[in-house]
């Protein structure tokens, strides 16, 4: 039994280890290890295409995670203790946002936004006849908006579990002591749910940073790091990709372990095993 578990863990982690080991390969051929070197890290970090893609991914991940955390927290607070039709619609939408495959979300966003922009842009041109009219197109905006949708659902699901496990009497006590609603929020609710918000933020950032399929459809002329890596792999396997891959894995592993530790500490929450 123990041996079996060890074998499955090896199956889960060996491929990651292989990538990491070969990223230190001195040779130019990807799969023959000829000596230790960090030259590919240097090459990757001085490649302007890699750096630009990394910057795009970083900005998109940061913006979408901030938006998702703020709006998601607001929505979770509003939905707390709510029943009836609004709650049902909200639950259904969150469920759909999480369960519909990324590829369908990507396609749907692409055709909806391209069509909408096609309708809006002529009006924008009318507003500024000098030819200086801003034209809406796919890019940072659509990437951030699409990633924020999924991440917002994550934040709401995490916080809902937190809020359900929270002692409501604390908030009632605060209100009984004549604390205005905002003071109750700042001094009672926020400290209690803050770990959840932070974990949601980290998961959102990781999701956006690693997402390929939604970005593939809605990125327009922008290139995120996963899109760059995908198109490089198409051209052939190189040690440079191993180096980029190792760095991406390390960043997401660090964020994830932090998120998991935050989620599993603090007040015990209902259904928390799932998170």
């Amino acid at each position: 039994m123990r041996l079996y578990a060890a074998a499955v863990f090896a199956f889960l982690y060996l491929p990651i280890a292989v990538i990491a080991i070969f990223s230190f390969n001195a040779g130019t051929h990807a799969s023959q290890f000829t000596g230790f070197s960090v030259q590919w890290y240097g090459k990757a970090l001085s490649n302007p295409f890699v750096m630009e893609a990394l910057w795009t991914s970083f900005i998109v991940a940061l913006c979408s995670a901030v938006i998702a955390s703020v709006f998601g927290t607001m929505a979770a607070l509003a939905l707390q203790g709510m029943t009836g039709r609004v709650r049902m619609v909200a639950d259904a939408l969150i469920y759909v946002a999480v369960m519909v495959p990324g590829i369908v979300i990507g396609i749907a966003t692409l055709i909806a936004l391209v069509t909408l922009f096609g309708w809006i842009n002529p009006f924008l041109a009318l507003l500024a006849p000098e030819g200086q009219a801003p034209q809406l197109s796919m890019g940072y905006g659509s990437l951030i908006a699409a990633h924020a949708l999924f991440s917002m659902s994550l934040v709401i699901i995490i916080l809902r579990a937190r809020l359900a496990g929270m002692d409501r009497s604390l908030m009632e006590a605060s209100a009984d002591l004549y604390a205005p609603p905002f003071a109750t929020f700042r001094q009672v609710t926020l400290p209690l749910i803050f770990p959840g918000i932070l974990a949601g933020f980290l998961l959102s950032f990781t999701f956006s940073f690693d997402d390929f399929i939604i970005a593939f459809f809605v990125a327009g002329s922008e290139t995120t790091l996963p899109i760059y890596v995908f198109s490089s792999i198409r051209r052939g396997v190189t040690p440079e990709i191993n180096a980029i891959g190792t760095m991406v894995l390390i960043v997401s592993l660090l964020l994830l372990v932090t998120a998991q530790v935050i989620l599993r500490r603090g007040p015990k929450k209902e259904g928390g095993d799932a998170a």
Binding site: P15, M74, M99, V100, A108, L110, I158, P226, F230, Q260
Partner: protein, 283 residues
């Protein structure tokens, strides 16, 4: 009244976001699926079922998906169950949380990089070279259904382990003691007590993996080398290469319908098993 107003204000940004970025786009897909292709690619408004009638043109993609997705789900289940059992019943409680985190974490790291690792391992210089060196002759692993299945099991194993683990951990251990006290050998206790009680977790895991597999693109694209392609690969081709939006939308709608049927079946099954409704979200 004031409380209601503040509730609506809190809900508004997320509500607008879901309306514009989820409901509206999904409606667009539905509308486009009844349209026609513009000669230069793109979409012309129409109301026709022609796109749906044309679905068999992508029959291979549907067939591949409907064969490999259940097979991948089954393989994941067979590998995941013993691990979940070990984690929930046999592992040291001190280490349990850490081990569980170790199972979940890979799921959240880049599936792109993790599939890429298998290109590396299954490619000509990897495992096949080792097999040849051992004297078993030449084998081809990359760009085969085997490679795609390996990638699938590797990618989705965590998603299967977690719900099974949850249902096993919740299981009342006294039932097992009772079963043993009544003279049932361990195997019989497992088959008649543990296994039936963990079925809700099994059903949840299978549904999650199956649904996500239906929309898979990356794993077949990276490990199937154009020979083993899923509906997802057909969708990318239709939208980004041949720009046949109307037909692509019809394929996407069909995909979502298949998923909805699966989810309904799952809900029905869960109600019949009387299982508690788990909100098992994979985070």
């Amino acid at each position: 009244m004031q409380r209601r107003l503040s509730t609506w204000l809190l809900l508004a940004p997320a509500g607008v976001w879901f309306a514009v970025m989820l409901v509206l786009p999904l409606c667009f897909v539905l509308v486009f699926s009844f349209g026609e292709r513009a000669p230069a690619g793109g979409y012309v408004p129409a109301f026709t079922f022609a796109q749906y009638a044309n679905l068999p043109a992508r029959g291979t993609a549907f067939l591949n998906t409907l064969m490999l997705a259940p097979l991948g789900t089954l393989l994941s289940l067979l590998i995941a169950y013993p691990l979940a059992y070990f984690l929930a019943m046999r592992s040291d409680p001190k280490w349990r949380t850490l081990l569980l985190i170790l199972v979940i974490v890979p799921f959240w790291t880049s599936i792109l990089i993790r599939s890429y690792a298998w290109i590396f391992i299954l490619g000509g210089q990897g495992l096949p070279a080792v097999i040849e060196w051992l004297g078993f002759g030449q084998v081809r692993l990359i760009n085969t259904p085997f490679a795609v299945l390996t990638g699938i099991v590797y990618g989705y194993l965590p998603l299967m382990v977690l719900p099974i683990f949850v249902s096993l951990e919740r299981l009342d251990k006294r039932l097992l003691e009772a079963s043993a006290d009544l003279g049932a050998p361990p195997l019989r206790s497992f088959l008649q007590v543990t296994l039936p009680l963990s079925l809700p977790g099994v059903a949840t895991g299978c549904m999650l993996v199956f649904i996500l597999l239906m929309g898979e693109f990356l794993i077949p694209a990276m490990l199937g080398g154009g020979k083993v392609f899923f509906i997802g690969n057909a969708l990318v081709d239709l939208f980004l290469q041949s720009r046949n939006w109307a037909f692509g939308a019809a394929v996407a709608v069909t995909l979502v319908v298949i998923m909805l049927v699966t989810v309904s079946l799952y809900m029905w099954l869960m109600r019949r098993m009387g299982g508690q409704r788990d909100d098992v979200a994979m985070m």
